[in-house]
């Protein structure tokens, strides 16, 4: 596997933010997730829940509800505004004020014509969804208390609204209330507390299901406005409800961190008198569950512990496979750390600020497995707060360590870093070219002379950096294809090639010398999660969300022989069944046949000179190999060398940088709020 110096970096205490709302789009199979910090993420459900898009949030922007209307995504929050997102360029499209005070909930009807929002002042406001905007249509009858939850009847003619202590059913045509149903308060001391109807679901057969702060899931009949049945689910609140597409299953998330499933089953077999019966209980969360969604094959839940849990429903799955396993997503599928390889600096990206650290230094060489004496402790050089309310979208530090760049939704800032001995100073480069106003992804060339900035329309702007400042050089545009935002950039070591990957799974390669598009890699069905250009051979190595790997020779414009062999022989079962995507591709300068990959939990070195494992061979064979002699080892070893623990502790890798013989390993603390 080779010898590396290992730095244990334990000072990147990034804390993911809690999940506030979920919205599932059945047609595109996308799951939109709103977090407490106002960011919105889009996951692709059929592509192993890869985090395709991230729209960073803003300060003071609490999102309370998310709703898809067709392929458009809307959110509403306590600041009283309704926001539509531009998913192509991954930014906010516009925000309009609803003039009803804080908005607690937003929901679109199934026809895709209207949006309803529930406001603090007790009004349900209907908005018409137009081609490019939404327009206020009218208010329904104003109520005395705030509207906490809303649900459209699938026909679009009625709306059920959950409020304090009651549920109202409105006729959308007239805007008048049809029924008013009172929710019971809890017994004993909680009798004085109001019962909050946190969530409501309106089924097509006229049943209204509510979840409230008393811990009950109640079923109501909208014809008579009476209670049919109530299930006591928990002692505390039922915060979220979601019903499956065919309305035979319902999930309820509670503040105890459990998800309870109800199923609509016939009490006597082969007869039609069905009832809602509590069946399964899922305990995957440690804290309150704020949002649940039942998608075709799984239950997705998220809450204050910031993890998105995808619990598969085995009765809905045709074939059990790695794609249908239990999945817990803790951290973004993006690199939040960049490192200056030559100067040993690391840049950590937090939502509101950046931190620059210098790694520690050690003396001499030790034997493998021993810990070296630390000559100089790692130190924090810089903390850079973001100007304005927007959160950071992307950031980078140049390989030489002389430049820092970051971008928010509205601005891009470039800094020159002077670092002589203990004096650190930064200067902002004031006059930036106009095209560098905002970037989706940022990258420096390996000699730190150029900055690549991915912007709208899948284009990449090139700016040259010098002591004097920054100068716009040109723009790289793809020949054809979609205009989705670029989420990955990779520059070659010799400064000749640049590869970009966008959300439509397209990978474009540009020749930097001619500043023209060189070629496009054949589009694969799964998203690219990491890529890198080999320094010696100039081959592009790509990792995909379904754990497949490709090596593409840029010069010959075709897949390499090794890549074809991999595709022909297939990957080992254990490799394909891993549930987190690879986040980084690196190469070992000492040994050109080594490709280094890592995801959240493991570090893997692929030796392209060794044979590939098939399903019969032992995949995790490090321990076995240790016990064998030199000759036997040769016959037993295969291309994949996986390391899951370091000094007997599980790895939490977030990024690995590599220069000469140093491999950086980060440990992240997962601290729920």
């Amino acid at each position: 596997m080779g010898e590396f110096k290992v730095h244990r970096v334990r000072f990147f205490d990034y804390m993911p933010s809690g999940i506030r709302a979920l919205a599932f789009n059945q047609d595109t199979e996308r799951m939109a997730v709103a977090r407490m910090d106002g960011s919105v993420e889009v996951f692709h459900c059929s592509d192993r829940f890869f985090q395709e898009k991230i729209i960073p949030g803003r300060e003071q922007c609490g999102i309370e509800g998310l709703s898809w209307v067709g392929e458009r995504l809307f959110s509403a929050g306590l600041n009283g505004g309704i926001t539509e997102y531009d998913l192509t360029n991954q930014k906010v499209k516009y925000t309009i004020d609803a003039y009803g005070g804080p908005i607690w909930t937003i929901t679109g009807n199934q026809q895709g014509t209207h949006l309803a929002v529930g406001c603090e002042d007790g009004t349900v406001k209907l908005f018409e969804v137009n081609e490019d905007q939404i327009q206020f249509e009218r208010n329904l009858d104003r109520q005395k208390s705030r509207i906490i939850s809303l649900s459209w009847h699938p026909s679009g003619s009625k709306i059920a609204a959950g409020m304090m202590d009651m549920i109202q059913v409105f006729n959308v045509e007239t805007g008048h209330s049809i029924h008013r149903m009172l929710a019971d308060r809890g017994a004993g001391t909680s009798r004085s507390k109001e019962c909050v109807v946190w969530s409501v679901v309106y089924l097509s057969d006229g049943t209204i299901i509510t979840g409230d702060s008393v811990g009950m899931v109640k079923l109501w009949d909208d014809q008579t406005g009476t209670l049919i049945k109530s299930h006591n689910v928990t002692k505390c609140d039922v915060l979220a409800l979601s019903v499956s597409q065919n309305e035979d299953s319902l999930v309820a998330g509670t503040s105890e961190g459990i998800v309870v499933q109800f199923q609509f089953v016939s009490m006597v077999l082969e007869k039609d008198d069905k009832e809602w019966v509590r069946t399964r209980t899922f305990r995957n969360h440690t804290h309150d569950i704020r949002a649940v969604a039942e998608i075709t094959t799984a239950v997705v839940s998220g809450g204050m512990d910031a993890q998105l849990v995808v619990r598969p429903l085995l009765d809905k799955i045709e074939v059990r496979s790695a794609a249908s396993a239990l999945r817990k997503i803790h951290f973004p599928h993006r690199r939040l750390v960049s490192c200056a390889r030559k100067s040993g600096l690391m840049l950590f990206q937090y939502p509101g600020h950046l931190e620059l650290w210098r790694l520690g230094e050690s003396e001499g060489k030790g034997t493998p497995g021993s810990s070296l004496f630390v000559k100089r402790n790692p130190e924090k050089l810089l903390q850079l707060k973001v100007k304005g309310e927007d959160h950071i979208r992307c950031s980078a530090v140049s390989p030489c360590g002389g430049w820092i760049v970051y971008s928010t939704a509205s601005t891009l800032r470039l800094y020159r870093l002077h670092c002589d001995n203990n004096n650190i100073s930064i200067t902002k480069i004031s006059k930036l070219p106009k095209v560098l106003s905002s970037a989706n992804q940022l990258c420096f060339s390996s000699d730190s002379s150029h900055l690549f900035s991915a912007s709208a329309q899948s284009s990449v702007h090139i700016a040259s950096l010098s002591q004097s400042g920054c100068k716009f050089v040109g723009t790289l545009k793809p020949k054809s294809g979609s205009h989705q935002a670029i989420h990955l950039l990779a520059a070659s070591e010799d400064g000749k090639w640049l590869a970009s990957a966008n959300s439509d799974h397209e990978v474009h390669i540009y020749n930097l010398q001619t500043q023209k598009a060189h070629c496009t890699v054949p589009v694969y069905s799964s998203a690219v999660t990491a890529m890198g250009i080999h320094p010696a051979t100039n081959c592009l190595f790509m990792m995909h969300a379904d754990q497949q790997m490709f090596e593409y020779s840029i010069e010959q414009k075709q897949y390499t022989d090794w890549s074809r062999t991999v595709q022909r022989k297939g990957l080992h079962r254990f490799w394909v069944e891993r549930d987190t995507p690879c986040l980084n591709v690196m190469f070992n300068p000492q040994n050109p046949s080594h490709v280094i990959l890592h995801d959240m939990y493991m570090l893997c070195i692929i030796d392209q000179s060794l044979p590939l494992p098939d399903d019969k061979t032992q995949f995790y064979n490090q321990l076995t190999l240790k016990s064998l002699t030199e000759e036997q080892r040769k016959s037993q070893s295969h291309a994949f060398k996986v390391c899951k623990t370091f000094k007997d502790r599980p790895l939490h890798l977030y990024v690995c940088g590599l220069s000469e013989e140093v491999c950086f390993i980060k440990r992240l603390q997962i601290v729920p709020c």
């Binding site: 089953v265 077999l269 509590r278 009765d315």
Partner: protein, 832 residues
């Protein structure tokens, strides 16, 4: 060899009542449970044993009500027969011979004339393979029918009978084994099976332990080894089946039961807490804790008013639907091991042995009834496996039954042994034993053996312990205490060459004490505490020791570990005889010279009964049972038998009970005895139209006496007269007070009922009929009851001849009834 044909080993008394779920009759008046070879019928209200259904020749393994007739019950047994009983009268209606051992029985209303049985398929007992078969019952008028029409339903059957249950209306049958649940639909003839993983990440143990099906919904409840309860639904789909899980029990769920309406689910396990889950609202549950031993079975009556739980301590608890215990039927408590000897309380003649943990139980073998528990340890027992708690290990009565000595001990496994010697005095006033003395450190090591002296004047206790000492304890020898000198203290400490004593025994007249030290027997005089002599017969450590009785008092018997039975003559101090036999238990009969010796040889136990003075055994029984016998006792009879047969003579004055390693209490019964039992049980048919209240018992006794008197003088008129009297009493007692007529009216009627018996010399039956006619008008019900009672009597007693009326006679009777006889009543009224 002695003829043994008319003496046989029977399971008599103290059998397990908790082997199968008890069933409650549909009118909630009776509880039926299996008990050894019998099915016992108890009253739910009084917990009294009414009668038993006798007829099986081996362990009864299952009972179930006949769905076609709720007054009948099916029982199945290891002897390979299914019997149909009328359980109210205790009459065997039919016997179906199946031919192979049966282990459980299930019936369903939908399948009339079909029984479902568990049969064992394996030839040897080791690899158990059970099958569920359905048996079509042939329609035949004969008493004993062979049922041949068998068809197998499934062979994936657990040996646990509670893992099989019928679903809604008998549409399907659900059964589980290990980790697989199977549901067999009769109409489709299709089995759906669902399996669980053996364990998961959280360490769940998913093996099925019991099953119950909802009576109206398609919902199957299953209990699991780790205490979870799963409710399965939608089980006609291979994939879309679903279940919900509840978890309250911390250990395996032993039993589940739905109430007849299906509104609640009852569950029980080792915690001995009955849990009631509300069906549909799963987290609403009620508890009934502290029921005693762990719950093994639960059953509910058909109206849902009563529940029955049977417990591991051989107990059936009757519980009202309001979760109140209303009755306890206690059998002989048999724990994992009986540490004390079997003893007979000289006062109550009850069998005394370990009962509930930390208690001694008093059990009447004659009435087969648990009398009471004596709390020895007086500490709360915690029902949890693996705890080291105090246990009663030794107990002894003195000859009059006024003193009881007990030893309790803790720390058998660990090194720090802790034990107490306690002496209990019988209190005449409270009629129970009261703690007199507690000796905390009687010896420095474990007490091996303990016996009271048998003399009438002074009571003395001798304990022998592993600290190579024996101590004699006397009452009131301690001069320091100025009190009534009632307490016990040590009188003498003896030892012999630092050898560990193994046993001690007093002679019949208490003039000698024999203490065995390993291979040596020492004889002491208790008066002077002088060692008289030593007896030794190496090799082999002395195991058992006893003196002969009555005419054989001069003999001392001893058994050694080297398979020797020795008999010493104490006058000559010489070995009289010895024989090589491996005696596991030596038991002298206190009322005769006889000594019983159980010997274990090559997987079976033989019994020898002999007199020490005679070389030939009185009685030999080869192969009494297949296990080792360690405990035995002679129980004195209430009235001695007068059998002259040489082989049964030894059973004349007392009866020999013994306990096998499987905790079966067995005894010997003779042919004459069985005959007598059978005839007496026939007459014991109880009038159940009246609640068995204490008041009723008083009156009933009075009535029986009357009956006896009458039978002597005029046997024919006895019956109607008796009926008439009881009707008046019944009316008096059963009519609510506020609707009763004035007392003066009643008084004359009441007196009337007595007067008739005096005047009724050779009275014509018409007169009687007339009187009862009057009663009939206002209490028709009761009259019916009386009629049925008469019928019972007619069926039950063979020798009694009841006059049967022809049709013409009846018509005549009716005519006579209609004529006015009121003048006669007036006559009677006018009498002083």
């Amino acid at each position: 060899m002695v003829e043994t044909s008319d003496i046989r080993v029977v399971r008599c008394g103290g059998s397990k009542v908790n082997l199968t779920p008890p069933i409650i009759s549909s009118d909630s008046r009776f509880v039926l449970c299996t008990s050894g070879d019998l099915v016992k019928v108890y009253s739910t209200r009084t917990e009294e044993w009414l009668h038993s259904l006798q007829g099986h020749t081996n362990q009864v393994t299952g009972i179930t009500l006949n769905p076609a007739n709720h007054l009948q019950v099916y029982s199945c047994s290891v002897d390979g027969t299914v019997k149909l009983w009328d359980f109210i009268d205790g009459i065997l209606i039919k016997t179906f011979v199946i031919g192979c051992p049966l282990f459980a029985i299930y019936v369903s209303e939908k399948h009339t004339g079909v029984l479902f049985l568990h049969v064992s398929m394996a030839t040897d007992s080791k690899n158990e393979c059970f099958q569920l078969v359905s048996v079509h019952l042939p329609k035949s008028a004969e008493q004993e029918v062979e049922a041949k029409e068998m068809s197998a339903v499934s062979s994936h059957i657990s040996k646990n009978p509670s893992c099989t249950a019928f679903g809604r209306g008998g549409e399907y049958i659900a059964f589980a084994r290990h980790l697989q649940l199977n549901v067999y639909f009769f109409r489709k003839q299709k089995t759906y099976s669902f399996s669980l993983k053996a364990t998961d990440k959280k360490g769940a143990k998913n093996a099925f332990t019991c099953i119950a099906c909802h009576p109206t919904d398609d919902c199957i409840a299953t209990g699991h080894e780790d205490g979870k309860i799963r409710l399965w639904r939608n089980f006609i789909h291979k994939k879309e089946y679903t279940y919900s899980t509840q978890h309250w029990h911390h250990n395996a769920v032993n039993t589940l039961c739905f109430t007849p309406e299906g509104t609640h689910l009852l569950s029980g396990g080792i915690e001995s807490v009955l849990v009631q889950w509300q069906y549909g609202a799963d987290n609403r549950k009620e508890f009934l804790p502290r029921l005693g031993g762990s719950i093994l079975h639960i059953s509910a009556s058909s109206d849902g008013q009563l529940f029955c739980t049977s417990h591991s301590d051989n107990k059936i608890t009757v519980i009202e639907s309001s979760f109140k215990v209303c009755g306890v039927i206690q059998g002989l408590v048999k724990g994992d091991a009986v540490l004390t000897d079997l003893m007979i309380d000289p006062r109550s003649k009850a069998l005394v042995l370990n009962g509930k943990p930390g208690h001694l139980q008093f059990y009447s073998l004659l009435r087969d009834k648990h009398l009471y528990n004596l709390d020895i340890v007086q500490q709360e027992y915690i029902y949890e496996a693996g705890l080291d708690q105090f246990e009663v290990v030794k107990a002894a009565f003195d000859i009059k039954g006024s003193w009881l000595a007990t030893v309790e001990e803790r720390g058998k496994k660990s090194s720090d042994l802790e034990f107490f010697l306690k002496l209990w005095a019988f209190d005449e006033r409270t009629q129970s034993f009261v703690l007199n003395t507690t000796i905390t450190a009687a010896h420095t090591d474990r007490i091996i053996s303990m016996c009271f002296s048998s003399s009438e004047e002074t009571t003395m206790l001798v304990t022998a312990a592993e600290d190579s000492q024996f101590k004699a304890w006397c009452q009131g020898a301690d001069a320091d205490t100025q009190q009534d000198q009632n307490f016990w203290s040590c009188d003498f400490v003896g030892s012999y060459h630092k050898l560990n004593p193994t046993n001690c025994s007093f002679s019949a007249d208490s003039s000698l004490l024999a203490v065995s030290f390993q291979e040596v027997i020492t004889i002491w005089s208790p008066d002077t505490w002088e060692m008289l002599t030593t007896l030794c017969q190496p090799p082999g450590v002395i195991r058992d020791l006893c003196f002969g009785r009555l005419s054989c008092s001069k003999y001392l018997l001893g058994t050694t570990t080297k398979n020797l039975l020795c008999c010493w003559n104490l006058l000559t101090c010489e070995l009289e005889w010895s024989t090589s036999v491996d005696v596991s238990k030596l038991q002298p009969d206190p009322f005769s010279e006889n000594v019983a010796a159980f010997s274990y040889q090559s997987k079976h136990t033989d019994l020898f009964v002999f007199k020490p003075s005679e070389p030939r055994p009185l009685f030999t029984n080869k192969n009494v049972c297949s296990e080792k016998v360690h405990r035995a006792v002679f129980v004195p009879r209430e009235e001695p038998l007068n059998s002259c047969d040489e082989s049964t003579q030894w059973l004349n004055r007392s009866q020999l009970y013994f306990l096998t390693q499987n905790m079966d209490l067995l005894t010997f019964s003779t042919a004459t005895e069985e005959d007598r039992m059978l005839s007496s049980s026939k007459q014991l048919v109880i009038d159940d139209s009246v609640a068995v209240t204490p008041f009723y018992l008083l009156l009933g006794k009075h009535r029986q006496q009357q009956q006896k008197l009458n039978t002597q003088s005029h046997p024919v008129s006895d019956k109607p007269q008796q009926t008439q009297g009881s009707v008046t009493i019944k009316e008096l007692l059963h009519t609510p007070a506020h609707v009763l007529p004035a007392a003066s009216v009643l008084c004359s009627m009441f007196v009337n009922s007595f007067l008739i018996s005096n005047t009724g010399v050779q009275q014509d039956p018409l007169r009687e009929e007339m009187d009862s006619e009057k009663e009939e008008e206002d209490s028709e019900e009761e009259m019916e009851a009386c009629d049925s009672q008469q019928e019972l009597r007619a069926q039950g007693s063979v020798d009694e001849v009841t006059p049967k009326l022809s049709k013409a006679q009846e018509r005549e009777l009716k005519r006579v009834r209609k004529t006015d006889f009121s003048w006669m009543a007036g006559l009677i009224d006018s009498k002083p």
